[in-house]
Symmetry: C2
DNA sequence: CTGTTAGCGCATTCAA
DNA sequence: TTGAATGCGCTAACAG
């Protein structure tokens, strides 16, 4: 950090005013003689000068940083959303600050405040709260926001999410076709997450009026890769006592893997009387015996789209909102159901 | 962003000078009357005042931000390192800026420059280059740095890494015990990564002087979850022609899963004539039939330790260096080898 | 086409 | 025990 060189140094050496250097730095070449431009450029390159971003942000009132809150950064699905975001942003001026809420609403709240303190120009949020009203600290700013993966209602910010309803509906149809008498849904609390709600609705929509029974087991939020909470599996074991022909539908990868493990451990063959299916965050379903039929989302694409929408908002101001932007997911049909 | 309140506002309302407010904010209470302190405190809380971080950083020459570069943020192993880092940092003043090098050295270089521009107080790096000399832009600063997962030599910065040598050596011993005639190592280029080198060395150390042959297949860097590059598997198929009793040792999760998939697809039963083992980034080995014997690292712990060491450096200045700090990994013995 | 001037919000001398 | 003055590095009127 040897006495970083500043705009003043450049100005002095190039024998121009710092205003002119500033103009140069910001690409405002209109009405600047080619000669001075080249002169400044030479000095800048020579000294490998890099403007101080804090100073710029302080003065200019924009920071070129995008804030991001995710529910849990160690979740492989989330980390692929981040990949998409960062990849899309790499060719721009924007930096990101990523904060992990660790599935905790209080922390999410703190994180948002921290990000706002950071004078971010835009926010990408995977919301944890139940309603947009819970985000008063954002609402009272005019900050451009886009939601990813989940969204809160009323829909005041754009949202980019998987096509949960459709895909779960298709799956519901498949379950019906396969003559299951019952489906057991494994999900963390639905009230807190729009995808879960929509997955449930899709399933319901496919099964309504038929004679397939739907039961849900509501689990805690899962942080592990394989859900091992004994209570969940005890409850499942209980339900399975009656030997009904049952499809188990896990709403996330950890529960899906947990279910597979449970069935393995209990030597319950699949797909026999019991079928298993679910959302596969790690995309490893094909390797897990007997081949897990699963829904594979496209988190990288979600990240891409979110950035596009956010930048558009930042540049052109608020846009029309017409419902969440769906990103296709894919049903990988394998053996387990 | 409705006209954010500043230190001036606080000063005015509390009828003190901004100097005093500044002192208050920085906890310099020595020789400040309790009365003014309480008065300022009241106003600050009342207005929910939050100091502008850019201005503070501009003036104070430190930013309270930690920069991080990872090779690939979507890698579940890396995302767990990040989890550890962020988790450890949450109780501190520090923020993080994470940049993804996407397995590309040029991008890593750019990222480091960007981070330095950001006036970071410290850097956590998962290095992609081959030597510390490749990091001239860091070396010429006095920036506190700690390496995670990998390290470059000569060792000029602390490094927190898995106990690669030991664990691979143990594995080598196991391979020898199981009477394999040959081990085929699946790895991306070793020159670029200290863990790979040390895993190889550990294996070698266990096998040297015995009569187990070691062959490596060097693959490209893998970005997918399951390595599907046909060239790799064609080469493996070729080697396997001779029906030698072979242990396949994959140096990362994607290759491990790729190998399992290859063997599945080709109906090669494991563990029979062929055994499989490897580093399991996703920690799903227990679910993959027939149960994959694998090495499970502890990336979260690596993150923790890295933060501890970095903060110590930031606060107390450079510390003695005595080799990389090892973090225990674990050999999960299952069926595949 | 370019420079002068005036801050942005804060921390830090130096005085009082 | 407190304040006035100064400047960090930059951008943006407003002149010229």
């Amino acid at each position: 950090m040897n006495k970083a060189i500043t705009i003043n140094d450049i100005a002095k050496i190039a024998t121009v005013s710092k205003t002119t250097v500033s103009r140069f730095l910001n690409g405002k070449f209109e009405g600047m003689s080619e000669e001075t431009r080249l002169r400044i450029q030479a000095v800048v390159e020579e000294l490998d000068y890099r403007p101080n971003r804090q100073a710029r942000a302080l003065k200019a009132k924009y920071s070129s940083v995008i804030g991001i809150t995710v529910t849990d950064i160690s979740n492989p699905y989330n980390s692929r959303i981040l990949k998409g975001i960062m990849d899309r942003l790499k060719s721009t001026e924007y930096r990101t600050i990523i904060l992990d809420s660790d599935l905790c609403k209080t922390r999410e709240h703190d994180n948002i405040e921290k990000l706002i303190d950071e004078q971010i120009d835009g926010l990408i949020i995977q919301p944890l709260a139940e309603s947009s009203h819970d985000y008063a600290e954002i609402l009272k700013t005019k900050l451009p926001v886009v939601q990813v993966d989940r969204f809160v209602e009323p829909l005041v910010w754009p949202a980019v999410v998987s096509d949960n309803f459709i895909q779960s509906k298709n799956l519901g149809l498949r379950i019906k076709d396969k003559d299951y008498e019952r489906v057991i849904v494994l999900t963390p609390p639905m009230s807190e997450s729009s995808p879960r709600k929509n997955r449930y609705k899709g399933l319901l929509n496919a099964l309504i009026g038929g004679n397939v029974e739907i039961i849900s087991i509501t689990t805690p939020e899962i942080r592990e890769i394989i859900a091992k909470d004994e209570k969940i599996w005890a409850e499942l074991r209980n339900l399975l006592q009656d030997k009904k022909r049952t499809a188990i539908f896990a709403f996330n990868g950890a529960l899906l893997y947990g279910a597979v493990k449970f069935l393995n451990d209990n030597l319950i063959a699949i797909p026999g009387n019991i079928g298993v299916v679910g959302y596969d965050d790690s995309a490893l379903g094909e390797l897990i015996s007997p081949g897990i039929t699963s829904i594979e989302q496209n988190p990288v694409e979600i990240g891409y789209r979110a950035v596009d929408i956010l930048l558009q908002q930042i540049i052109e101001g608020p846009q029309e909102l017409s419902g969440p932007v769906p990103v296709d997911s894919k049903l990988n049909i394998r053996k387990s159901l």
